[in-house]
Symmetry: C2
Subunit: 347 residues, 2 copies
DNA sequence: CTGAAAGCGCTTACAG
DNA sequence: CTGAAAGCGCTTACAG
């Protein structure tokens, strides 16, 4: 039929986007029917009609607008992922794992860099809340007024890696950081690395805190309490470790081994050490945390604790898609210590 | 007035989100007026009314839904940024720069990892198109059917770092890659590094191609053409450089210097070199590209070309907010060679 | 199996 | 300066 062809061509050429009404008109059905086809409700549409509508959809290359649907349903197919530092490949790797998994269900991941800043986090939270995001995945959340506000209003949260701030009941996925800290103590002591120091992360991070406490308590229990002046604190960045290194590396009573709150801090410390002629691991043994994807390539000298970041995606997916957001369940993933044996060879 | 207080408390407690109609009712005005206040159209509302509405908005902690507005206006306050590899801190740094700038105008950046894959890029494009995204910023776009389709329909594109595929007319921001490649040749030759090799990136990347061509042409012009068997190709990753290194490092006629399409490739090559006892830069001089933020910390032995990634944000912002999307203008940023002088000291 | 109508929460001519 | 009404593009009771 030349008229129908014509109509279709006109529409596609007109530039203005094709709507469900156009499809309905050209297929000779109601919007309702088109909507049913769109949502694959086969039981509600005859086979013949279904196919006819499908064909028109294809001919027009019609793509339903997410905005209309989301507005009506009170929910979009957006999922937000907040993370404290996009420059840290460890966080990016978790984001990747989650993105791949959610894509399979037609969910779009919106990444949001909070830079560990409560104000930025709150601003982004407000914005995305107004998009009726299906779930907020908080990778390393910061305690903030906006976060507590949203939690009170039953916003769907999912905390990853770092526990929700005290008083917020929401599901958590991550490792047992206290146990991991303890494991490091048990790793070092038998190797005669008992004169240790520790660089903990900022206190806002429950993960860093637990790691530190597990390490400290276990070192003490094993008879080698950490000297107070061998305890430092740093941002979770390379620069943080490097700057702090200036105070550690030169010092008289420099410890024989140092446990850092994450791998990036270790990189910075290592750089300072090599600049000052301190050999790693011969003079200074460094332990990090996360098993950053870069370690394999750039830090064979580093012993680290592997957080199984590939596992986050599937679990997150099952929770969001299965919509079985548990009230405040905790899913504890396994961790283990990674050592690379060509330590001294490469660097 | 106790009734109003009561009404407000009821609303806030009800859980269901507050709408513009609620605000209008409680303020005793029409939705139109509330909308005007929301959009700061002071000229259209009396001072007294404006303040009254503002107060109700605050009391209710009312946040307009982006979906309603976007649907009506045919445009959301979302901006999409496509990037080929979230694990590359160079790309993340560009994303950061853009995000910070756009935030100032209430625009939300949606990050989208294409993994250099046309199908993933097209899928994401379709999804985000349906959110009426305000602009698609393509950092390292891949040529694909969906991209050409969208371009034909006048989708607002902005290409960054890597030129738009041939035939697509859209604005571009980036450096002059051909000139940069030439500069590297002019850097190496006076230093007696004339027996060179080159690792170019995948052919899909116009940036990599131009760098290679500029380097090749200039080496030839300076009387030191690159030997064909000293030309390789690699994905833009550490692993790519490391794997390729197996074929380069051991070889009899290994070149004295190698120019890599990006810094990550250099990292991989360097690792392979050190593992095989080849010293960098004494035995093998390595030049990379991008001046990856990690270089400062992890690769002081590397000479690289700095792409001024901090400058992308402000320019992108002025284009999107000023909505002066030029038809197909090119904004060429300056580049320069970076060398770190503690090369041999640290690593 | 099918459709007319209402409604999600905004903004925007239009009229006063 | 203010508001009633239409409309953005979908989905969903509801009725047949």
């Amino acid at each position: 039929m030349p008229t129908r062809r014509q109509a279709i061509d006109d529409l596609r050429a007109s530039g203005g986007s094709v709507t469900i009404a156009d499809v309905a008109r050209l297929a000779g059905v109601s919007q309702t029917t088109v909507s049913r086809v769109l949502n694959g409700q086969r039981g509600l549409v005859s086979r013949a009609t279904f196919r006819r509508v499908e064909r028109v959809i294809e001919e027009l290359d019609y793509q339903p607008t997410a905005l209309g649907r989301a507005l009506r349903q009170g929910q979009s197919n957006l999922v937000a992922l907040f993370l404290p530092d996009t420059q840290n490949p460890f966080y990016s790797a978790i984001a990747d794992s989650i993105e791949v998994c959610l894509q399979q269900d037609g969910l779009n991941l919106v990444l949001c860099n909070t830079r560990e800043d409560a104000a930025m986090q709150d601003a982004a939270l407000r914005q995305l809340l107004s998009f009726r995001v299906r779930c907020f995945i908080m990778l390393g959340a910061v305690d903030s007024a906006g976060l507590r506000d949203a939690a009170e209003r039953n916003t769907p949260f999912l905390f990853i890696n770092r526990l929700p701030p005290a008083g917020i009941a929401a599901p958590f996925i991550g490792i047992d950081n206290y146990a991991a800290g303890a494991d490091i103590a048990r790793y070092l002591v038998p190797r005669a690395l008992t004169e240790v120091g520790v660089v903990s992360g900022p206190s806002r991070s429950s993960a860093s805190r637990s790691r530190y406490e597990g390490f400290r308590d276990t070192m003490a229990a094993l008879g080698h309490p950490i000297r107070p002046d061998n305890t430092w604190q740093s941002e979770l960045t390379i620069k943080g470790g490097y700057d702090l290194g200036a105070a550690i590396i030169g010092r008289a009573g420099m410890p024989r081994a140092i446990f850092c709150a994450n791998d990036l801090i270790s990189y910075g410390l290592h750089k300072r050490a090599t600049e000052n002629g301190v050999r790693v691991p011969d003079d200074l043994f460094i332990v990090g945390f996360d098993d950053n994807p870069l370690n394999r390539w750039l830090a064979p000298w580093l012993v680290s604790v592997q957080v199984p970041y590939q596992e986050f995606g599937p679990i997150v997916r099952s929770i969001i898609v299965g919509s079985n957001l548990p009230a405040a369940d905790q899913i504890i993933l396994p961790h283990h210590i990674v050592e690379r044996h060509n330590e001294t060879a490469a660097d």
